[in-house]
Amino acid sequence: MMKFLFMMIFMIPLCFMKNMFWLVQMMLFFMMFLFMNLNLNIMCFFNMSYMFYCDIISFGLILLSIWICSLMIMAGESLFKLNFYFNFFLFNVIFLLIMLYLTFSVLNLLLFYFFFEASLIPTLLLIIGWGYQPERIQAGMYLLFYTLFGSLPLLMGIIYIFNDLNTMTIYFLKFFNMNMYLLYISMIFAFLVKMPMYFVHLWLPKAHVEAPVSGSMILAGIMLKLGGYGLLRVMIFLQEVNLKLNYIWIIISLVGGLFISMKCFCQVDMKSLIAYSSVAHMSMVIGGIMVMNYWGFIGSYILMISHGLCSSGMFCLANINYERLHSRSLYINSGMMNFMPSMSLWWFLLLSSNMAAPPSLNLLGEISLINSLVSWSNISMILLMMISFFSAGYSLYLYSYIQHGKYFQGLYSFYVWFISWVFIIIFALISFKYDNFKGWFYFYLILNKK
C-alpha cells in the first residue's frame, strides 16, 4: 500500500515538468492496473502495514478514485491546450488523489477524519480557480461550510472514542458497542451532510454545477462516497442506537429522494439535473446502510461504485455539449442527435444506467437496496417505487430533450474540439461494464457465502 502512496507522491514533481501532461495521465492508468491486481480477499482486511490496510470496500473505492482522477485529467485537456495553468491543475488532481487514497486506506479513525477534511481543499481550489461563473464563489463557500459544520461533531466523537476505548484502529471498532445517542448523532451527521441527505443537500447542486468538469466528476464520483464509506465504517459500533433511530434517517432520505426526483423534472440546466439525480441515488444508499442488513450494505456499496462511474460520465457528456454550444441550458442544447449521432449512443448508455436499466451495475445495486428496504418495512415499497419510476422519468426526459427535437439555430456545425473526450466516455463505460461483470460475480459469491 505504501508503494502506491510513494508512486503518487513522486508523480508530483512530474506534474511540473514540461510536456508531461499525458504521461501523468498514463501513469495513473498504470497505477490503477497495478492496484487492481492486488490479492483481493473479500472477508478480511488485507495488505496491512503500518497504518494502511485494504478491505473490499476500500479496495473498490480506491480503484474508483484512481480511475476517476485519471479521467479527470483527460477531461482537463482543454486547460492543457489553452495553457491555463495545467501544471497546477495536475498537482491539484494528484494531491486530491493522495488525500482520497489515504482516506480510504488508513487504519486510524483520526487520520481518516484528517484526510476526509483535507480532500476538501483541492476540491475548493478546483471550483474557484478553474470554474466559469461568478456564482462559483458562493458554491465553494456552501461546499466548504456545510461539510465543515457537519464534521466538527465528528471530530468530537472521535476524540471521545479514543478517550473511551484507547484505540483508534478501525478494525477493533467492531468489538465495541457505544450506546450513546449524542455520540451517534455527532458521528453520523458529517457523513449525512456529505452523502448528502435531503435536508442538508443544498451544497450539492451549487457545487456540482459551478465546478469545472473535472471538479464535477470528482465531486459526483468520489466525494459523495466518502460519506457512504464513513457511514459503513462507523455503523459497526453504533448498531444498537441505530436500531432505535434509523427510521428517522431512512424516512428523511427516502421521502427527500422522492421530492428531489420530482425536482429534477423542473431543471433547465443539464448539470443541475444530473446533480439532483445524484442526490436521489444517494438517498437510497443512505436508506440501505441505515437498515443494517447484509443486502443493504452490499447494495449501497455497489450503488456507490456504479453511481460514481455513471455520474462522472454524464458530467463529461454535459461538458462536451457545453464546450461546443457554450451553454448548459436545455433550451439551447436540443436536437443534438442531428449533430452528434455517435454521442447519442453514449448519452443513452449512461442515462439508461442512471435509471438502473439492465444490464448496468446500478440495477444490481438498486435491486439489492429495494430488497433490503422492503424487508425492513413494507411501506417503503411505495417510496422506492416512486423514486425508481421518477429516476427513469427524468433520465428519459434529459435524453429526449437533448437528443431529439429541433436544434438551436445558432449552431452551424460541430468541430472536433478535443478528441480525447471520446476516450473518456469509452473508458467510463467500459470500466462500468467490466465492473458489471465483476459485480455480478461478487454478488453471486456473497450470496453463496450467506
Binding site: W22, K81, L82, N83, F84, Y85, F88, F89, L124, L125, I128, G129, W130, Y132, Q133, P134, I137, G140, V268, D269, L325, H326, S327, S329, L330, Y331, I332, K406, Y407, F408, Q409, G410, L411, Y412, S413, F414, Y415, V416, F418, I419, S420
Partner: protein, 462 residues
C-alpha cells in the same frame, strides 16, 4: 502516435493567444482562490459566460431581454450590454411613439397588431405601475390621383388581415374634418382601430425594469470587438475549406476602461445605428464570400416640428394625418397644437438635411397647402431624432446572419422600431428557443434578402 500528431495539429490554433489577454484570467488559480477567500470582495464581478448576449439595450434589445426571460426564466442567462444607461440618444424619439397599422407589408401589419394587443394589456405584462398613455386616435392616409388604386389595394389587404378601415371620398373627409384641404385628394383611408400614440419611453423603461426583475443582467459597457476562432474542420458553402471562423466572445470595455470578454451561445445585435460598426468587428462587410455584404444600417437625422398658436378648430378625434407629400401630422397633447415632420426618404441627401431653413420652408409650404388655416402658426423645431435606417430598402433586418449563425441581427427598423418592439422581441425569442417563427413569420425580413437582392419596400406615401 496518431493521437499525439492530432494534438499537435490542433495546438496550432490561433485562438490560444487571445485567451491570455484578459486581465482577470491571467491570475494563477491558487492566488485567485486565496484572494477570493481572504478579501471580502463586494465588487461586482463581470460575467464571463452567458447563454445570450444582447448588444444594445434600446427598445428592441430590452424587449428581447424581457421576452427571453419571460419565456425561459432561469433557463437562459441573458446579459444586455448597453453603453449609455441614460439613453440620451434614444429618449426623445421614443417619447412620441406612434402606432400605425397602415402598412403594405403584411409582416409590419402583424407586428403592429401585436403591439396594439400588447399595449392594451400592458399592465399584465409589465406590471401594475406602468403608464404608456396609449391613446388611440386613428390615422388618415391621403392619396392623390396617381396612387388611389394602390391605396384601395392596401385597404383591402388590411381588411383581409383583420385591420378594419374605411375608405373615404374627399367629400366625406371634408365633412368629418373640414379643416383639411381635399382639393388634390382622390381617396382617403381611415384606420378605425388601434392606431394612435403612446409613450415609447415609458414602454422602454417598463421593458428594462421587468427584464431586470426577471433576471436579465444589464452591463454598462461598450462593445469593442468580437473574438473569432478558426475552425478548420467546418465546411460551409461558399467558404474555402478550413477558413471558417466562428464568433467566440464579445469583448466590451467598461467605464473604468477595463476590457472584458464574455462567451455566449447566441448573440443578438440590436445596437440601432451603431450596428454596422459592431458587425464590422465580426468581419461582416470586410470579409469575402458571404461576408462581403455589409450591414447597411446608417444613422439618419429626422426633424420634428411643432406648430403652435394656430387657430384651426380641431376636435378630439383628430387622427394622425399622412399626406401625399410624405408629410405627417399628429396632434400634440389635447390642445390645438400639432407635431409634424417629413418621412425620411432613402436617398436623403445630408446636405439638404442640414439646412434647417430649407426644410422648414418646404414643411411650411406643404403644411399650408394641406391645412390652410395654419398660416399664422409658428413652426419651431421640436426635436431632431436619429433613426437607424436600412439604406437598402428602408425595412429592418431581423434574423441570423448567414455566415455567423450565432449572431442574430435586429436593426435598421427606423421609426418602426419603437412600435414594433414587442413583436420583434417575441420573434427573436422564438428564433432562439424554437428555431423558427411561431407567431409572426418574419423570414422575409432576414439578412438573406441582402444577398439574394430582394428588397422589401414599404410604401409609405401615396
Amino acid at each position: 502516435m496518431i493521437v499525439s500528431s492530432l494534438f499537435r495539429a490542433s495546438r496550432q490554433s490561433t485562438a490560444i493567444s487571445t485567451f491570455a489577454r484578459y486581465n482577470h484570467e491571467q491570475k494563477n488559480p491558487m492566488i485567485k482562490t486565496w484572494n477570493i477567500m481572504t478579501k471580502s470582495n463586494t465588487r461586482f464581478s463581470y460575467p464571463e459566460n452567458t447563454d445570450i448576449v444582447i448588444i444594445g439595450g434600446g427598445i428592441i434589445g430590452a424587449a428581447t431581454a424581457y421576452w427571453l426571460k419571460r419565456r425561459a426564466g432561469d433557463g437562459l442567462s441573458v446579459v444586455v450590454i448597453e453603453k449609455d444607461f441614460s439613453y440620451k440618444q434614444a429618449q426623445r424619439h421614443l417619447q412620441h411613439g406612434t402606432l400605425s397599422q397602415h402598412f403594405t407589408l403584411p409582416e409590419n401589419l402583424f407586428l403592429s397588431q401585436f403591439s396594439a394587443f400588447f399595449l392594451r394589456n400592458i399592465r399584465e405584462h409589465l406590471g401594475e405601475d406602468i403608464n404608456v398613455e396609449y391613446c388611440p386616435t386613428g390615422s388618415l392616409v391621403l392619396a392623390s390621383n396617381d396612387y388611389a388604386q394602390k391605396l384601395e389595394e392596401t385597404s383591402s389587404l388590411l381588411k383581409e388581415h383583420g385591420s378594419p378601415n374605411e375608405l373615404l371620398s374627399p367629400k366625406e373627409i371634408n365633412k368629418k374634418f373640414p379643416w383639411i384641404n381635399t382639393a388634390d385628394i382622390k381617396l382617403g383611408c381611415m384606420g378605425v382601430e388601434s392606431e394612435g400614440t403612446f409613450n415609447g419611453w415609458e414602454l422602454h423603461k417598463g421593458f428594462v425594469k421587468k427584464s431586470k426583475e426577471l433576471g436579465a443582467l444589464y452591463i454598462n459597457a461598450e462593445v469593442v470587438g468580437f473574438d473569432l476562432e478558426q475552425q478548420r474542420d467546418v465546411l460551409m458553402e461558399g467558404v474555402t475549406p478550413g477558413a471558417f471562423e466562428r464568433i467566440m466572445r464579445v469583448r466590451y470595455m467598461t467605464e473604468e476602461n477595463e476590457e472584458y470578454g464574455i462567451k455566449f451561445a447566441g448573440c443578438i445585435l440590436t445596437a440601432g445605428s451603431d450596428s454596422s460598426e459592431i458587425a464590422k468587428f465580426a468581419k461582416v462587410g470586410t470579409g469575402d464570400g458571404m461576408l462581403m455584404v455589409p450591414l447597411p444600417v446608417e444613422k439618419r437625422k429626422h426633424e420634428v416640428y411643432s406648430l403652435e398658436g394656430n387657430n384651426t378648430e380641431i376636435g378630439l378625434n383628430t387622427p394622425m394625418i399622412m399626406d401625399t407629400t410624405g408629410l405627417w401630422l399628429q396632434r400634440k397633447g389635447l390642445g390645438k397644437d400639432f407635431l409634424g415632420g417629413y418621412l425620411p426618404s432613402l436617398d436623403q441627401n445630408d446636405n439638404l438635411v442640414d439646412t434647417e431653413q430649407y426644410l422648414k420652408t418646404t414643411f411650411l409650404s406643404s403644411l399650408m397647402h394641406r391645412i390652410p388655416s395654419c398660416n399664422n402658426a409658428q413652426v419651431q423645431s421640436h426635436s431632431s431624432l436619429y433613426y437607424d435606417c436600412t439604406t437598402y430598402d428602408n425595412s429592418g433586418i431581423l434574423g441570423p446572419h448567414p455566415y455567423h449563425n450565432n449572431l442574430y441581427i435586429a436593426a435598421g427598423f427606423g421609426q418602426l422600431g419603437c412600435q414594433h418592439a414587442p413583436g420583434l422581441g417575441r420573434a427573436l425569442t422564438e428564433l432562439i428557443i424554437d428555431s423558427q417563427f411561431n407567431t409572426i413569420d418574419l423570414t422575409r425580413l432576414g439578412f438573406d434578402r441582402l444577398l439574394t437582392d430582394q428588397p422589401m419596400m414599404e410604401c409609405n406615401a401615396y
